[in-house]
Symmetry: C2
Subunit: 327 residues, 2 copies
């Protein structure tokens, strides 16, 4: 049975939405044991495949990442990461402080040898439903060119092994498609990616074409990746909000809307990031999955689905074998 450790206390609406997401998941999947780490008062789920582990602390969104992981030894996130390290769980999931989860990945679970910095990788939607992998989504806000090269290599291996994409195309997120565009980081990274013969680098990709399947993989630093994610998300949410206002603004519009409602819901679902599960921390020696901080129960459910899939796909072994070195 697959075992997934969950940080019940992480996320903007934790622990309630996390508990609700787990209940949804336990109804859908009977081959997974969920280990819930949280403060004692949240031991509310009664289910054969659920084990509650009481912790005395939690890491908040304001906590300084490295320090909090080192000091709060009994925090739910720390304990969930330890379960992966000790192999009492196959994966851990948290919607909490991204920096702290990254630190827990680094200092508790540990890096794959040869990988300097882990990166959060997520499959994002495209309008043709193919999707593309964006990384880093925010693990490492100040990245160096050599980190981005490692992100590209990890994503390349993953896309080949787990997504069965032959020779995946790799783009660099940038503010222009021309070779010399960008800031110091992207200019230096461009040169290194171009020189890297093991990957199929197709050049700079502007964020305005990200939804149009211009590349199978898009690499960027964690700050920019997170900015892209949050801009995409905010724009999509607000357009659908305005659309809803428009469609319910008059009786005639309401009548028309009744006809197209189901098709619109499908469209909205396509752009709904809660459907896309969590981001996987590539480069650590165990499966660490970050759910979005503003996750609702469906997003938690999908992050758990993502974790289950990543265990089945054995992502960590693939990366360690192909990208890791013995240093």
């Amino acid at each position: 049975m697959i075992k997934i450790a969950v940080d019940l206390m992480g996320g903007d609406d934790a622990p309630q939405v996390v508990l609700d997401g787990i209940e949804l998941f336990l109804k859908a999947f009977s081959d997974v044991e969920i280990q819930g780490y949280g403060l004692p008062e949240y031991n509310t789920i009664k289910h054969d495949n659920f084990k509650f582990i009481a912790c005395s602390e939690q890491i908040t969104m304001d906590d300084e990442p490295v320090r909090s992981v080192r000091r709060k030894k009994d925090a739910s996130m720390v304990r969930a990461a330890e379960a992966v390290k000790l192999k009492t769980a196959d994966a851990c999931v948290s919607a909490g402080n991204t920096g702290a989860l990254m630190s827990a990945g680094l200092f508790i679970v540990g890096r794959i040898k040869g990988i300097e910095r882990p990166a959060l990788a997520m499959t994002m939607p495209t309008i043709d439903n193919k999707g593309f992998m964006l990384l880093d989504m925010g693990a490492n806000a100040d990245a160096k060119p050599e980190h981005l090269i490692q992100y590209a290599k990890m994503a390349n291996i993953y896309a080949k092994a787990n997504r069965k994409i032959d020779n995946p195309t790799i783009g660099l997120a940038n503010i222009g498609t021309e070779d010399k565009k960008g800031n110091t980081l992207t200019k230096e990274t461009f040169a290194l990616l171009k020189a890297e013969t093991s990957i199929n680098f197709i050049g700079n990709v502007e964020p305005k074409t990200l939804l149009n399947s211009t590349a199978d993989i898009v690499v960027t630093d964690g700050f920019t990746g997170n900015i892209i994610l949050k801009t995409l998300e905010g724009t999509a949410n607000n357009i659908f909000k305005m659309l809803k206002q428009t469609l319910t603004s008059s009786t005639k519009n309401k009548l028309a809307t009744a006809i197209i409602k189901n098709d619109l819901a499908k469209l909205k679902g396509k752009m709904d990031y809660s459907e896309y599960g969590g981001a996987v921390l590539f480069g650590v020696n165990g499966l660490v999955i970050k759910a979005h901080g503003s996750s609702d129960k469906v997003a938690i459910y999908n992050a758990l689905r993502q974790a289950r899939l990543a265990v089945e796909e054995d992502v960590v072994s693939t990366l360690a074998k192909e990208v890791g070195t013995d240093e």
Copy 2:
């Protein structure tokens, strides 16, 4: 009469859309003389308020900014900037190479004393129609914290003097709202903005709330600002494209769409960046307006409207008086 110098050769679809945009503008405004700088074969507009100035060169999107501005002395963009320097024009407009236009602003028009780096400032839409000013949109890809402080001060003065906003709220674009979030640049900038008593700094702003009027002004480095702009634009365009597909996918949907068509068009217009005119290069000693590289004729028309407005508002004098120093 207001005089606007236009680089006919700049932009992805230049010169045709630039010429078309000028014709639209000349129909709408009779108080502006347009000076068109371009290769001799594009002297096609016959209008009393249009003067054509033949140039022998043009700056392309691939040209290295500083070098091309220095070497291509007879390029249309360089000549248009010179018209501002020589005060034969009150403003210049180009949809061409952003970096080159920034260089033309710096080296031809010249900085306002005391301003280290100019920034491209643009008013962006919000769902309540209030709008907010985002800068830098891409003039300066590698910014330092002190540059962002100057951007904040310039936008603050502009919002007070020209937009009549009392005590405008200023946010820093970042990957979290918590004080310590971000990369080295945003962390250092946060501390400086917080210490700056002349402005109303409200802290970090995540891009997912940009359309919700969380701040009157949002400052960021040029790389991130351009990433935000292009992500917003790409997401909005693609959602409306998918919406159109959905609404025309069946006969019943087409019937329903006929009813709501006008309201949907209004909604789309609200998110259409071609409606928002150009970005103004804050910090140079003359009006330099950047139209979007992928401008269509309506976007060019709106950039010209923006230029006319900026002349009337006397933006440059305001900034020079309030933010500039005698070094």
